[in-house]
Amino acid sequence: MTTPNIEKKKIGLTNIDSRIIWLLLLFVVGIPLLNPIGLPVQVSPTTRDFHNTLRSAQGGVIALALDTDPAGLAELGPQLTAILHLARDNNIKVILVGWNNNAGFYADTYLPKVFSDVWETRYGIDFVNLGFIPGGETGMKQFAEDTWSITSDHYGESISQLPIMENIRTASDLDYIIEFCWNIDLPQNIMRQFVAPGYTKMLAASTALVYPSLLPFIGPDKSIVAAVKGLDGAAQLELLSGHPGEALKGTDAQSLAHILLIIFIVLGNIGLIFRGGKR
């Protein structure tokens, strides 16, 4: 095993050590998280579309497909909380399900944040955690054709004992399915198995990284009717729903991190200009 050869170069604007950049980022992100500044948050047209589309399902039933990996929860968790608040406030019943083996646990973590006061009385009536459905896209096809093919919820209760599922026999009985996606494969699976066969319409709650890949599919007459993007989308949803939470606290840190990024890019280019454009 040879020692890594990290060259000791003369430090200039063009070769600032990555560790200095990371340390500064740690401060810039950490301090606002501990002591929020309260920078203004503007609601974008895309988030407003998502909010209005979701509210149009008032009185209906939606499915939330929790297919994210735990790593995506930093952005998708606050989105999930905001969407659950919106659903509760607009009398929309929610079915939490997923084709990722963590889906049941996410639902178990996030449902109590919104429904803890009515858990005993309204579980199975206004909201339910169906948990993980194995089989990936094959499992999606199975669920879309027959939602009662999964015989019990995440806690082992028979599906026939859950009033919310009484009139939900196929995916066409759902108003929307909202896919929580942290990669591009999952929304395409939902499009193929739920949207293309005409069962139901789709909304997307995605991380900021994946959102550009979803853009070709988003539109009122396209596969994804509306989508919300990343932590800033979650913050905007929190503003619209009137339930401020983790996302609004995080946007300060995010904004300052972006500013720091711009500063470093400018410094790097200034250094390059002074060096005559050489590498």
């Binding site: 063009t14 600032i16 990555s18 950049i21 990371w22 980022l25 740690l26 992100v29 920078l39 203004p40 948050v41 503007q42 974008s44 047209p45 990996d69 735990p70 790593a71 995506g72 929860l73 930093a74 049941g104 646990f105 178990d108 973590t109 459905i133 194995p134 089989g135 990936g136 094959t138 499992g139 096809k141 199975q142 054709e145 027959d146 093919s149 806690y155 550009p212 890949s213 853009l215 070709p216 800033d232 946007t251 904004s255 991190a257 972006h258 500013i259 720091l260 990024l261 711009i262 470093f264 890019i265 790097g268 280019n269 390059l272 200009i273 454009g277 590498r279």
Partner: protein, 211 residues
């Protein structure tokens, strides 16, 4: 005969099932559509068996490292003991307190922490990449800066036009490029799938076991 079956039977099964699912996706053919639902349930269950080889390899490799008592043995002890702790708590029930505690306070936190490393690496990668060395990199820099300023609330505070420009960039050039790449990837994937169904190509060879 034995080797003929061994080499070609898996491809035959793949081809039959593949074409069966394609047909039932496009057509309504009773009772094939009902059979496809049942088959989908069976395939869902068989896909869980993929966990088994991974578990066996994990245990074998780390046990061997521990017995060797080399540099890797400490890491292997941590790996195996974590595996055993999670396995035992999982067997106590997925709604049990130990499992929930471990899941929420160890697994979720560690996974999120590793993903959050990306933020640091993005910062250093962007600092290195966004340099004006040529006209293409100048365009990349300008578009990148406009997009960042359009996303950040500060950008809207500096000039209200930044969010509109960022929106235009993501709606038109970015979406157009993504569409083109998506079409290319879809055709590439469809090509691999068709070659697998007819038993040709590298994936078909893997299934045949003939490579």
């Amino acid at each position: 005969m034995g080797s003929l079956l061994r080499n070609n039977l898996p491809s035959l099964i793949t081809a039959i099932l593949g074409f069966f699912f394609i047909l039932t996706y496009y057509f309504t053919i009773q009772p094939l559509n009902e059979w496809s639902s049942t088959l989908a349930k069976i395939i869902s269950l068989t896909s869980l068996f993929a966990i088994i080889p991974g578990t066996i390899i994990l245990i074998k490799r780390n046990t061997a490292n521990i017995l060797k008592r080399g540099n890797e043995s400490v890491r292997s002890i941590v790996t195996l003991s974590s595996f055993i702790i999670f396995l035992v708590s999982g067997l106590m029930g997925l709604n049990s307190a130990p499992w929930k505690w471990l899941y929420n306070n160890v697994f979720l936190i560690l996974s999120t922490a590793i993903f959050s490393l990306l933020a640091f690496y993005i910062m250093s990668a962007a600092y290195r990449t966004f340099r004006v060395r040529s006209w293409e990199s100048a365009v990349l820099l300008i578009v990148g800066l406009l997009t960042i300023l359009g996303v950040v609330p500060f950008g809207a505070a500096i000039w209200s036009g930044f969010p509109n420009i960022a929106n235009w960039i993501s709606k038109f050039p970015s979406t157009g490029t993504a569409r083109g790449i998506t079409i290319g990837i879809a055709l590439g994937t469809a090509g691999v799938i068709i070659r697998t169904l007819i038993g040709r190509g590298r994936l078909g060879g893997f299934i045949r076991g003939a490579e």
